[in-house]
C-alpha cells in the first residue's frame, strides 16, 4: 500500500474531523463553554442527509446547501434553548444543558430512523479514480474538496468581513464587544448556527462512507475534544491540525509495517501496530503534549481548559 494512498485517506478522514472540531472550537470561543452536543449534531447532520437524500434523490453535493441551512436553524434552536437561558450561570450549567440536547437528539433519531446504521448519499457518486499511483474513491476526494472549501469560506468570513470581525470580537472579549455596541447574544446565536452547520456538513461527509447511527455522535465528540486539546484550547488552526493528527494516528500508525516492511517481521508486530495500540499511543501522545506544551501545539490558547 503506497504512502501517498495512505496520506490521501488521512486527509479525507482528517478533513471531516476538522469540520467537527472547528464547529466545536467556534462555540467554545464565543461562549466559553464546551458544547457537548457537537458530536450529536454530526449525527443529526448524517440523518438529515439521509432524510433529504431519500426525499430528493440527488447527490450529496446538491443536498449540502439545504443541509447547512437546516443545521444552522437547529443551531439557533440549541442556542436559544440550551445556552441563552443559562449564559449568566457558571459554564457547568451549559455543559449539562448541551449534554441534555445530545441525549434528546439521540433519542429523536432513534425514534425517527431506528437504531440500525444507515448510509447517506455520496457527495458526487460511487466509484474510484486512479492517478499518480493512487487508487482513490470519489467520495474521499470530494470530502477533501468540500472540507477545504468550507474552511476557506470560514477564513474569508472571519478575516475579511465586518460580520466576521464582530464574531471574533465577541469570541475574544464579550464585555468589551458589548461595550462597543456589538450585539453579543446575536453573535453567539450565529456562532451556534455556524457550528451546527459545520457539524452537519461533517455528518454528510462521514455518513456515506462510515454510516450513521443514533449513537455515533459520542465518538466524534471525543475526537473533537482531543483535537482541540492537541491543537490548543480555542485555537482554530490548532483544531484543524489536531483533527489531522488524529486521522494520521488512525490510518498511518497501524500501517507502519506496510510502509517499513522490516516491522512486519518484528516480534508481536500484530499487537504493536494494531488499531487498539494506535489509540493508546495517541492518548499517550496527548498526555505528552499536555505536559510539554500545556497550551497545545499551537500554544496560543484563547480559553482556559476546564
Amino acid at each position: 500500500m503506497a504512502a501517498s494512498q495512505l496520506l490521501l485517506e488521512v486527509l479525507a478522514l482528517g478533513a471531516a474531523y476538522a469540520l467537527v472540531a472547528l464547529g466545536f472550537v467556534l462555540i467554545l470561543n464565543a461562549t466559553g463553554a464546551v458544547n457537548f452536543s457537537q458530536g450529536d449534531m454530526v449525527m443529526a447532520g448524517g440523518f438529515g442527509a439521509v432524510l433529504l437524500g431519500n426525499a430528493l434523490h440527488v447527490p450529496g453535493l446538491v443536498l449540502l446547501p439545504l443541509l447547512l441551512a437546516g443545521m444552522a436553524a437547529l443551531g439557533v434552536v440549541v442556542a436559544a434553548v440550551a445556552y441563552m437561558p443559562l449564559r449568566r450561570r457558571p459554564p457547568e450549567a451549559v455543559f449539562i444543558s448541551t449534554i441534555a440536547v445530545g441525549i434528546i437528539l439521540q433519542n429523536a433519531a432513534n425514534h425517527l430512523f431506528g437504531a440500525e446504521p444507515i448510509a447517506a448519499p455520496p457527495l458526487l457518486g460511487a466509484g474510484r479514480v486512479r492517478f499518480a499511483g493512487i487508487d482513490a474513491s470519489v467520495q474521499s476526494l470530494a470530502i477533501i474538496g468540500v472540507a477545504v472549501l468550507l474552511v476557506v469560506f470560514l477564513q474569508v468570513l472571519f478575516a475579511h468581513t465586518q460580520f466576521g470581525r464582530r464574531l471574533r470580537a465577541t469570541a475574544q472579549d464579550r464585555e468589551v464587544a458589548m461595550a462597543i455596541g456589538i450585539p453579543v447574544d446575536r453573535m453567539v446565536t450565529v456562532t451556534f448556527a455556524i457550528g451546527a452547520a459545520l457539524a452537519g456538513a461533517a455528518g454528510l461527509l462521514l455518513a456515506n462512507a462510515f454510516f450513521v447511527t443514533p449513537t455515533s455522535g459520542a465518538d466524534y465528540m471525543v475526537k473533537a475534544y482531543i483535537a482541540i486539546v492537541i491543537g490548543g484550547w480555542g485555537s482554530i488552526p490548532g483544531a484543524v491540525a489536531g483533527a489531522l493528527l488524529i486521522a494520521a494516528f488512525e490510518v498511518l500508525y497501524p500501517s507502519l509495517p506496510l510502509l517499513i516492511p522490516p516491522l512486519l517481521r518484528m516480534a508481536q508486530s500484530d499487537t504493536v501496530f494494531s488499531q487498539t495500540t494506535s489509540t493508546i499511543v495517541l492518548d499517550v501522545a496527548v498526555l505528552v503534549i499536555l505536559v510539554a506544551r500545556p497550551r497545545g501545539l499551537f500554544g496560543d490558547a484563547v480559553r482556559q481548559r476546564p
Binding site: 454510516f211 497501524p254 488499531q275 487498539t276 489509540t279
Partner: protein, 406 residues
Amino acid sequence: MSRGALSWPDCRWPARLWPARRRPIAAWPSAACRAASGLLIALLVGSPAHAAGPATPDIPVLVPVTGFLAAEGSSQRNGALLALQNPPAGVQPKFAVTDTGTSPEGAVNALERALSDGDVTAVVASMLGTQMLAMLPIALAHKVPLTTMSGTADITRKGNPYVFRFFPADSVVKGAQVRYAIDVDHIKRPAVIYQTTAYGQSGHAEILKALEAAGIKPVFEDALDVSVKDMQPVLAKARAAGADSLLLQLHGGPTALFLKAAASMDIGLPIIAGSGLAQPSTVALLDPAEIKGACAETGASPVSAETPEMQGFLARYRAAFHTDPDGFALGQYDATMMVLDAVAHGATTAADVTRVLSTESYTGLAMTYKSDGHGDMAHAAVIICYDGKSRIPAVVKHYDFPIATP
C-alpha cells in the same frame, strides 16, 4: 350443579370461630350471602365458564431499544411481540415492553417493576450480557424464568436455573464458521479480525479454539475498536502476512465497513464473517457486488425463508414491522412461542414454565430447542453465502452440534 348435590351454606357465622359480640353483622341477608358463596365456590372448584376461559400469562418484554444495542434489541422486541400478538389458541398473554437502555441498573429496575406488578409467568430479558448478569439474582430470588438472546457465555455458567438462552452460544456458531472455512475453503493460513468488545473477544477465543482443534494457527490477528473507520490498513496487513482467508467477528457496522474496504481493494480472499453479516441492516449498507462470495455464520437466516413456515414468519414480520427479520428476531420469537406453548398445555405458573423450559424440547421455526442443563437451548447453526446479485443470502450449510450435557 343442583342444590341437592351441593347444599348452600346457611350463612350464619360459626359461633365457635367468631363469637356473637364481635361479628360485624349479625347475619348476612340470605340472597347476598348465597350469591357470594356461589361465586366463591365457582372460583374454587372451577366453573364451566372459567374452565373454557383463556389462560392469561404475564410476560413482560424487557429489552434495550435505545443505546448502542438498540438495533439488536429492537429485533429481539419485534420477535417477542410477533409471538405475543399471535399466541396459540386458548392463550391471551399480558405483556408490556420496557426499554432497559444499556445500563445494568436500567434492566434491574425494569425487572423489579415488572415483578412488582403481579404474578409474572416468564420474562423476555435483555440480550445485553451485563444486564443479564444483573438480572439473574433477581430472577433466582423470585423464581421467574428469563428467556434471552444474550451471547455472553457467563450467563449460563452461574448455575442459575432460571435463565434460558435461545441463540446458539459462541462455541456453536464459531465452531460452524471454522468448520465451514476448513471444509469448503480449505483454509490453512487464516487471518482473524475481531472486535475489542466482549462480543468480539468471546468469539475470537472460540475461533482460536476451533482452529487449534484442527491444527491451524492464524497468520495474522487484529482487534478493532468499534470506532475504527478505515479498514484498509488491517486488510493490507492481513494480505502482507500471507493470509489465505479472513475470519471475522465484528459487529454489523464494522462488518459493512470491512466488506466495503475489501471490495475496493479487490482483496480476493474468502471471507467467512460472524453473524454481523447475517443482519439485513448490515447487508443494506452494501452493494450486492461488494459481498459477492462472502459467507457468514448465524443461528438462523429468516430472510432466506427455507421452509413454508419460515416464509409465513417472514411475511408476518414484514407486515407487522416493515423491515426484515434477523436471527435475533426469529430466536426470540421461538423462545416466546415455547413459553406460550407451555402455557397452552397447562403450565400456568412461573414454576411450571421453568420446568417445561428445563426439561422439554420444542421444535421452533429455526431449530429444535432443548436445554443442556445449564439453560443453553440452541445447538445448531447455519452458514449463509451471498451470490453478488441479491442481498438475500442462501443457506449453504446446516450444522447440528450434539447437546453438551453437564
